[in-house]
C-alpha cells in the first residue's frame, strides 16, 4: 500500500483499508507527517471540495470522514502532542428550551470529520453547562445552535455568560432564524448558515 492507496480508500469510504494502509505505511517507515497530511487530510480536502461542488452527497462525505478517522486512530499514538492529535476541542449544543438537533448534528459530524475533537452536549443545554464543558475540555470553540426565535434570547444569554466566565473560547452560532446581524449584536465570534462553512469558521478560529 502506498500513500495514494490510503487517499483512495478514504474517498471510497473503506475504513478497514484506510486503517490497514496506515499501519503498513508506519511499518514501512514512511514519515508520519506525510501519512497524515498527504493521505488523510489531503483526502478530506478533496472530499470537502467535491461536496461544495455538489458532486459528493452528505452521507458520502460523512462516511469518508469516518474512514479518515479510522486512519487517524492508528496514527494517534505516534503523533507528537503538538501536532494534529490535538487539532483542538469543539463543544456543540442546542440552547436551553430548544429541541431541534438535526442541523446541530450535521454541523457536529462535519467538524468531527475535519479532525477536531467534538463534545456534543445534545439539546436544551443551559448556559452554565456550556461553561462547565468548555473549561473541563479546555475547548477552543463553542458552537451554539437555535432553531426558534423564542430561544434566541437563551442563545444571547449563553454567549454573555461565556464571555463573563473569562474563558478563552471562541463562540460561534447558527440555526435557521439566526443571522449575521444577530451574531454581531450579541457579540458572538462567528456565524455561518450551513455546516461546511461552519467547519471553515472553526478552522479559522482554531488557527488564531
Amino acid at each position: 500500500m502506498a500513500i495514494e492507496d490510503i487517499f483512495e480508500a478514504v474517498l471510497t469510504f473503506n475504513k478497514v483499508a484506510v486503517a490497514e494502509g496506515v499501519k503498513a505505511e508506519l511499518d514501512a517507515g514512511t514519515e508520519i507527517d506525510s501519512i497524515l497530511n498527504e493521505a488523510l487530510i489531503g483526502a478530506l480536502d478533496v472530499v470537502g471540495k467535491k461536496f461544495s461542488e455538489g458532486e459528493m452527497f452528505v452521507p458520502e462525505m460523512l462516511q469518508a470522514a469516518k474512514a479518515m478517522k479510522a486512519g487517524l486512530e492508528v496514527l494517534k499514538p505516534y503523533l507528537r502532542s503538538e501536532s494534529v492529535a490535538s487539532k483542538g476541542t469543539v463543544i456543540i449544543g442546542t440552547v436551553k428550551g430548544d429541541q431541534h438537533d438535526i442541523g446541530k448534528n450535521l454541523v457536529a459530524m462535519m467538524i468531527e470529520g475535519a479532525g477536531f475533537e467534538v463534545v456534543d452536549m445534545g439539546v436544551n443545554v443551559d448556559a452554565d453547562r456550556f461553561v462547565k464543558a468548555v473549561s473541563e475540555h479546555n475547548a477552543g470553540v463553542l458552537c451554539l445552535s437555535a432553531l426558534l426565535t423564542t430561544t434566541m434570547p437563551a442563545m444571547e444569554n449563553a454567549v454573555a455568560v461565556i464571555k463573563k466566565s473569562g474563558l478563552a473560547v471562541k463562540t460561534i452560532i447558527g440555526g435557521a432564524p439566526v443571522t449575521v446581524t444577530f451574531a454581531d449584536q450579541v457579540g458572538a465570534d462567528g456565524y455561518s448558515d450551513d455546516a461546511p462553512s461552519a467547519v471553515e469558521l472553526v478552522r479559522k478560529l482554531m488557527a488564531t
Binding site: G54, V58, P59, Q99, G103, N105, T149, T150, D194
Partner: protein, 469 residues
Amino acid sequence: MNRAIINFDQKILDTIHKHSLELLHDTGIRFPNEKALGIFKKHGFRTDGEMVFFEEKDIRKTMEAVPSAFSIKARNPEKSIRIGEDNYVMAPGYGPPFIIEPSGEKRDATMTDVEKFCKLVQTSKYLDFNSSIVVQPNDVPVETAHLDILLATMILTDKPIMGSSVSETAARDSLKLAEIIWDNTDEPVMISLVDSLSPLQYASEMIDSIMVFAQAGQPLIIHSACTLGASGPITVAGSLVISNATTLAGICLANLVNPGTPVVYGLGGTPMEMKTGGYINASPEDAKHIAIVTAMGRYYNIPCRSQGALNESFCLDYQAGMESAVMLTTAALSGVHLSLHACGTYGSMVAMSYEKFIADEDLCGAMKKLMKPVEFTDDAFAMDLIRELGTSGNYLMEMHTMKRCRDEFFIPDLSIRAMHNKWLEMEPRDITQRAGKLLEKRLAEYEKPDIDPDVEKRLVQYVNKRKKV
C-alpha cells in the same frame, strides 16, 4: 404493480401497524416527564427509566376509544366546525418567525402581522380557523407571546381557535381564556397541536400539553415526522413506522388521562436534501406521507391531518404554485380531514407572505370545491330540461342556469380567466402586485365580529394580569 398512492393494500397497512407495535413493545417511546411516567405506571405499563413500553391491547383499547369525528364550537355558532367524516377543514401557516415581502426582503414578524393575519382569516371564504402561531411575533416577550396571539385571535375572529401548546402554562392560559368566552367548556372549543420529537420520543413540555388538554376534554392533533435520512431511516417505510409508533403512544397517553379524548392523527416525513443537508418539505416524498397518513387514519378510523400548501420558494413564482398545488392536491385527494399551513408559507414554513396567503386561498377554494361531491339530485340531472331542449338547446337562456350561475362553479379571486388582449391591458399584470391589491381590499373591508363588551374586557384583563406576573 400497484400504482395507486391513495389506495394502499390492506396487507401493507397491517404490516405498518405490526412493525409499529413491535417498536412500541420492544424499543419503547421516551417520555421525559415524571407525571406522564406516573400515569403509565399507574395503568400497569412496563417502563424503564424514561422509556415506556406498550402492549398491543393498550393500543387497541386506545384506538377504539378515539372518536371518528367531533365538533369544535366557534364563538359564532355558524362557524363551528366538524372534524372527521367527509369534512375538510383548513388553517393557515403555523410557526413562521419571518415575513417575506414582495421585494424578497425577509423581516421579523410582529404583533401587527398577527393582527393582520387574524383579519385575513376572519374574512377568508375557505379557512376554517386561525392557527395558534400564525406567525411568531418578535416584538413581544417570548414568555407571554401566546397570550397576545390568543387574545388577538379571540377578539378579531369569531371562528374556532387553536390552543397554545408551547408550554404547560400556555396550555392552561388557553383553557382559562376559553372559559371567559364559554360558560361550558365541557365540549370542545379549541384544538391544539402537539409535535413529537423524532425518533421515538416527546419533549417534556409537549407531554404536559397533551395531559392538560386531554384532562380538559379538548381535542389534540398529535403529529410525528422524521427527517428522512437524519432523524429516521432514509426510506419512507422505515420513517413511517417510527412516526406511527410515536403518534400512537401520544394518543395512548391522552386517552389514559381522559378516555375518548378527540385526537387528530398525524404523521409526516420530509427528505433531507442529500447534497446539502437542507430540509425540503415540498417533495413527492412528503406528499406520499400525506397519502399514507389518510390510509392509516382510515385504518384506525380516526380523523387525520396533513401539511398544506408547502413550498420551497421565496416569491410568488411557478415553483411556489406548483409545489403548493402538488402538496395540497395530494392532501385533498387522499381524503385528509385537516390541513395546517394551508395558506401563506414560503421556504419550508420558515416565513409567511401576505401575497402568498391570498394566492393560496384560491388553491384552498379549488381544493374544497374539488372535494365537494358532485350533486346528483333531480334538479341537478335536469332531465325535464334536457328533454325539452333536445338538440336545439341554448341553456344560457334558461332559469335553471340563471339560478345556479353564481354558485355552481368555483370562482377564483386571483387567478386570471381573461382573454389575451385583456390580460395585456391589465394594470397591474404581475401576480404579486395583483395579490397586493386584493390584500388591501380585504383588510379595508374587514369588520370586527360582534363580541359581548364584558367578555372582551375580561379577556383583556386576564391577559394583562398574566403579563404582569
